[in-house]
Amino acid sequence: MSNLGHTIRREFPLFNDPANQGLVYLDNAATTQRPRQVVEAMQDFYYHDNANPHRGAYRLAERATQSYEDARDKVAGFIGAASSEEIIFTRNATEAVNLVAYAWADHVLQEGDDIIVTEMEHHSNLVPWQMLAQRHHASLRYVGFDGQGQLQLDQFDALLRLRPRIVAVTQVSNALGTINPVAEMIRRAHAAGAVVVLDGAQSVPHMAVNVTELDVDFLVFSGHKMLGPLGIGVLYAHKRLHSAMQPVLYGGDMISNVDYDHSDWNDMPWKFEAGTQNVAGAVGLAAAIDFLRDLGMDAVAEHDRLLTGYALEQLQQLDGITLYGPRRNHGPAISFNLTGIHPHDLATYLDQASIAVRSGHHCAQIVMKKLGLAATARASFYIYNTLEEVDRLIAGLNQAKDYFKKWL
């Protein structure tokens, strides 16, 4: 198990590039690398089956359509959706959240309604709701988190008493590493009559997520954070919401009939996919799912846990470190700071040692405000990382402390 990182690395050509020799890539929460299986699946599509899907009466177009719809079926299976109709392809998780806001929420929200988010949301699952609230004079309410980065569920319960229309919450935080008890939260939200939008950008890549078991209303995630290509994301929309959803982007396949003064729409899910779609992206995402399934999502989660546990243990021993987020049950993104070293300077130092970590607010400025910080450094792991790489990180941090000593 601890060897997963070693054995699997070979499949990722980026790590074999001489220019990236010795690279310790620890920015997986931002985007992952791609195994050759994913890139080759896209290449195969372009070199053998490429055509504009859905509309051609010739065989090549049929193969393209099949590739696209097979990818949709694969996504549906991967997250346990009841039907492929519930899978809408988007550009990324961000667009998927916005689509929920424009396609559904704009049609049901009323003045004075409440929308619940949490203080640990990524901007992508926060600002769309902020703007929605502004458009409808609705109230945006925040569930806070405690010193361990855990959501304050008593606040959540109190807010549910307002009978909010929408609850938008992330399953795993990219800034704190918190894994939220979303199954329970969904149950309570539903009991209060709310519709739940789950941000799976950091969960779907790392653990088995089953929308039917969760009984979630909407789930969003991005292909590029789970070995898949850039430019493809997913909105899962439970069938019960379909009739209340209206198209947002118009043109191309999403249409069934156009007349001079009005038009009619195609069926789900195509009515939300306007214009020529990123078929190669969907094909690449399907290949990524195959890759992850071959490993098994439990093995993926186990590897994350191994690395994260070891990293937390080692990091804690560094003098002058502050770790943000939970002590236990920590997701694979670890935010921290070293006293007196700005995370930006730290990242530059580590980069010179070929260690790629993120520094900044991680698109979670509310988290930073709450912690009274401008920025943190963040190391985030995935299947190709190894325990030795964690050691490299720790060594790098020790050297950085030494280097910046005189700046303190």
Binding site: G56, A57, Y58, R59, A61, E62, Q66, N257, N266
Partner: protein, 158 residues
């Protein structure tokens, strides 16, 4: 040649002399559907009395496959119960997708069999199914309405 499997003589017959072409004067089921990707249209009118299709007609325009399929369909379903129609639709869908079909269709006979070649032409499955999809949706609306009327009635007598 695969093409001859698609364009069988029986289809030719139906295409040139479509059965039940037109619009019923007094239908209780009426639905228009469009194949969004080729522009083909069909208008189906039916009379369903006591759960039995007593009359049916189709109009519209389209390719050989969609027109012949509509013609064959109207011929087959007249006199059938709604239940039988639904079963046949499912079997027909299997047939055009896989080339094989179950027993009910066997009883339906040769004219439907003539669509077994469609499975080699996946882009044409939609054409073969257009009339049947229209039929199923029309019947669904009808049942809905029916139930609704029943409900109204029962509530009225409450």
């Amino acid at each position: 040649m695969a093409l001859d499997q698609l364009y069988q003589e029986i289809l030719l017959d139906h295409y040139k002399q479509p059965r039940n072409k037109g619009v019923l004067v007094d239908p209780n089921v009426r639905l228009e559907l469009k194949n969004p990707f080729c522009g083909d249209e069909i208008l189906l009118t039916l009379r369903v009395d006591d759960g039995v299709v007593t009359d049916v007609a189709f109009s519209g325009h389209g390719c050989v496959i969609s027109q012949a399929s509509a013609s064959v369909m109207t011929e087959k379903i007249k006199g059938m119960t709604v239940q039988q129609v639904k079963q046949m639709a499912e079997q027909f869908s299997d047939l055009v997708k896989t080339g094989h079909a179950e027993t009910v269709l066997r009883e339906g006979g040769d004219d439907l069999d003539a669509f077994s070649g469609v499975c080699e032409f996946p882009t044409r499955v939609k054409c073969a199914m257009l009339a049947w999809r229209t039929l199923l949706q029309g019947l669904e609306h009808h049942e809905h309405q029916h139930h609704y009327l029943d409900d109204e009635k029962s509530r009225a007598t409450d």
